[in-house]
């Protein structure tokens, strides 16, 4: 659905981009860079704090195309197969970025990262062969404070405890079932360090207990917030960015970061990118501007790639996003290699469970 909408906007954006490029002679002569984004607020913030200032400084025009993450990857795969690459950079989810497919489509960044080896201001692993970290975000447990006043829900165990915390709930269903299974396993008493490889049978068994209480399996971020607004559910496993957006709107919402799942987005440089040199310049520019990273993460409630950027964020955003080292330690990091190796199996088991 959302994909369908995005397709429409994409078509529009591409046409707009084409016109922008071919429209006037002076523009088409200009240096450029094509970035695929996931649209929305992310793109707006990136445009304000990175794309436009970058153009001003270097004269390189940044053209964006937007689609859902999965859709962008599908297109890049098609471009790679036909040998007609039109884009330069895009943001890939960290798990996706660790996959073989990703490696086959994107450049190995080891060479680029060599210059940043001694940079202690960068988060560990921020510059890696799979790409340059853009920011970290989390998927966490959010709940309605009117239904569950302080102390509220803390762990996934509380989320699955429908006797103590009665009320309808929501969990994600965007074809990426590891998050749901991981939450179920944590609720069932599995220790975070023993989470991977996921015990799928046990996870699905635990999910059976909560299924009657799930009033929405959300597919898109917008959907995950709408239910909180209209009371469709009072607790949910949703993205941090969406949770803080809801709170900013004035919704009675609180969340727990205790067992939140940490997932980063990485800039990936597509193989045979038509404006490769400009893309490298942009990545350097991105890493060299912690202040701008801070502004973007203030708006989106994310954790930026540099410690100095995290410190430069306003207090409110620092409190909302996982920035301090002690919170950061507690977050649960998915085993990307295992998830990638078992992607099809997970999806198949998930589909089967849903049909039961």
């Amino acid at each position: 659905m959302r994909r369908f909408l995005k397709n429409c906007t994409n078509a529009g954006l591409i046409t707009a981009a084409v016109f922008a490029v071919s429209g006037s002679g002076s523009v088409s002569a200009q240096e450029k860079l094509v970035i695929a984004t996931t649209g929305g607020t992310l793109e707006q913030e990136m445009r304000t704090h990175f794309f436009d200032p970058f153009t001003k400084e270097t004269g390189i025009q940044v053209i964006t195309v937007s689609g859902t993450g999965a859709e962008n990857v599908a297109r890049i795969k098609a471009m790679a197969q036909t040998g007609n690459v039109e884009w330069d950079l895009y943001q890939a989810g960290e798990i996706q970025a660790a996959s073989e497919l990703h490696k086959s489509m994107n450049e190995d960044m080891t060479e680029f990262c060599r210059a940043y080896q001694g940079d202690t201001d960068l988060l560990p692993g921020a510059c890696a062969s799979s790409g340059v970290l853009s920011a970290y975000g989390t998927t966490l447990l959010a709940y309605n404070t009117r239904s569950f006043p302080a102390p509220g829900l803390k762990t996934w165990g509380d989320f699955f405890n429908v006797e103590k915390f009665p009320g309808p709930r929501s969990m994600p269903n965007f074809n990426d079932p590891w998050r749901v299974m991981a939450a179920a396993l944590l609720a069932d008493g599995v220790k975070p360090d023993a989470l991977f490889p996921l015990d799928v049978d046990r996870a699905l068994g635990k999910l059976d207990t909560i299924r009657p209480h799930i009033s929405l399996w959300w597919k898109t971020g917008d959907q995950s917030t709408q239910g909180f607004r209209n009371g469709e559910y009072v607790a949910g496993e949703i993205w941090q960015t969406r949770a803080s957006a809801l709170k900013k709107e004035g919704q009675p919402l609180a969340w727990s970061q205790d067992q939140a799942f940490l997932v980063g987005d990485r800039w990936a440089l597509i193989k045979k990118a038509p404006h490769r040199a400009n893309a490298i310049k942009f990545l350097e520019y991105f890493l060299a501007h912690p202040q701008a990273q801070a502004r973007v993460c203030e708006a989106l409630t994310c954790t930026p790639a540099r410690y100095s950027a995290a410190k430069a964020m306003n207090a409110e955003a620092q409190a909302a996003a996982p920035t301090s080292p002690d919170v950061f330690e507690k977050l649960i990091r998915p085993d990307a290699a295992w998830i990638n190796a078992n992607n099809q199996m997970l999806l198949e088991r998930w589909n089967e469970w849903n049909q039961r």
């Binding site: 659905m1 994909r3 369908f4 909408l5 859902t68 999965a70 859709e71 990857v73 599908a74 795969k77 497919l101 309808p168 269903n173 074809n175 990426d176 009033s215 929405l216 399996w217 597919k219 209209n230 009371g231 469709e232 559910y233 992607n343 099809q344 999806l347 198949e348 589909n351 089967e352 849903n354 049909q355």
Partner: protein, 302 residues
């Protein structure tokens, strides 16, 4: 006798000799080719080539063989979903027919003003985006939606009912979206039946019911079958509405194919799923037509 016949009806020889009159069969070969060329090109590049590539891909990944199809048979999931897809499409078709027939009849037979109003009611939804109509169902059916609020206010229920994200909701919403596709062919068939037939029947003593049952209904059947077939085929490939109104439990073939194309990027397997759906659909259509053509009266079904 023979003389009047020759005068009244032009001989077949005469028809053949007439240059370029209404019938397309008398166009020259070149002209026919030019006329159909845009359609053929569009179909070739926009449909046959990409779809053929996807379908063929399922036989050639990683190398030639039926590996993708074996995988499909290994898990009961895929056949369950295929069966469910057919069940839902069937339910939608029946519901559309039951609701659609009286509406089509009204459009064809009511006094002009009322018929126009009915037609507007049928066509305006058809011109509205499927997205909008599907979201409208969410607004109606959700936990704190219009229907639940009404039932709670009336005191008929004490707890909000679970209406949305169910199979019933999917059938209802899909019926709403596909209804015009059932109505329009039936409308065309009913309208083509001359009023004089009914009048003649009444003249000979048939009651209203009898006129409908023995004249209108049989003559409108080609429209009924055309409409049902179209609705059924569209329902088989529906993606938007089930994704929005149905939860993860009402998974249809299109959802599965979407997962494989955009999420796992396993295009060979997506191709295999599409091949199975296409083959099942074609088999069904051919079987449907075969059964109908046994009865010569329905030979006009396309």
């Amino acid at each position: 006798m023979t003389v009047t016949a020759t005068i009244g009806v032009p001989s077949t020889e005469a028809i053949r000799r007439r240059p370029l009159t209404g019938s397309a069969r008398s166009y020259s070969k070149t002209l026919s080719l030019i006329l159909i060329a845009p359609l053929v090109l569009l179909m070739g590049f926009g449909f046959l080539y990409p779809v053929g590539k996807l379908l063929l891909g399922s036989f050639f990944a990683p190398e030639f063989g039926l590996e993708q199809f074996q995988r499909l048979m290994r898990s009961p999931l895929y056949l369950t979903v295929l069966l469910r897809t057919f069940e839902i499409a069937f339910a939608v078709t029946i519901a559309s027919l039951v609701i659609g027939y009286p509406i089509a009849f009204a459009m064809a037979k009511l006094p002009r003003r009322w018929a126009a109003l009915t037609t507007v009611c049928v066509l305006i939804p058809l011109w509205t985006s499927t997205l909008v109509r599907s979201y409208a169902w969410i607004v109606l059916l959700q936990r704190k939606g219009v229907v639940n609020a009404l039932l709670l206010d009336l005191g008929w229920i004490t707890e909000p009912l679970r209406l949305i994200y169910t199979e019933g909701a999917v059938v209802m919403a899909m019926t709403h979206v596909l209804l015009p596709y059932t109505i329009l062919p039936i409308f065309a068939a009913v309208r083509a039946v001359p009023n004089e037939l009914g009048q003649a029947a009444s003249n000979l003593g048939a009651g209203t019911l009898s006129v409908f049952w023995r004249i209108m209904l049989p003559l409108s059947l080609p429209g009924v079958f055309a409409g049902c077939l179209m609705t059924f085929i569209l329902a088989l490939g529906f993606y938007v509405t089930p994704a929005l109104v149905g939860g993860p439990r009402t998974m249809l073939m299109a959802t599965l194919i979407g997962q494989q194309t955009t999420e796992t990027l396993d295009w060979a397997f997506a191709g295999a799923l599409s091949t199975v759906l296409l083959a099942a659909t074609l088999t069904f259509v051919v079987a449907f037509r075969k059964t109908l053509s046994l009865n010569r009266g329905f030979a006009g079904v396309s």
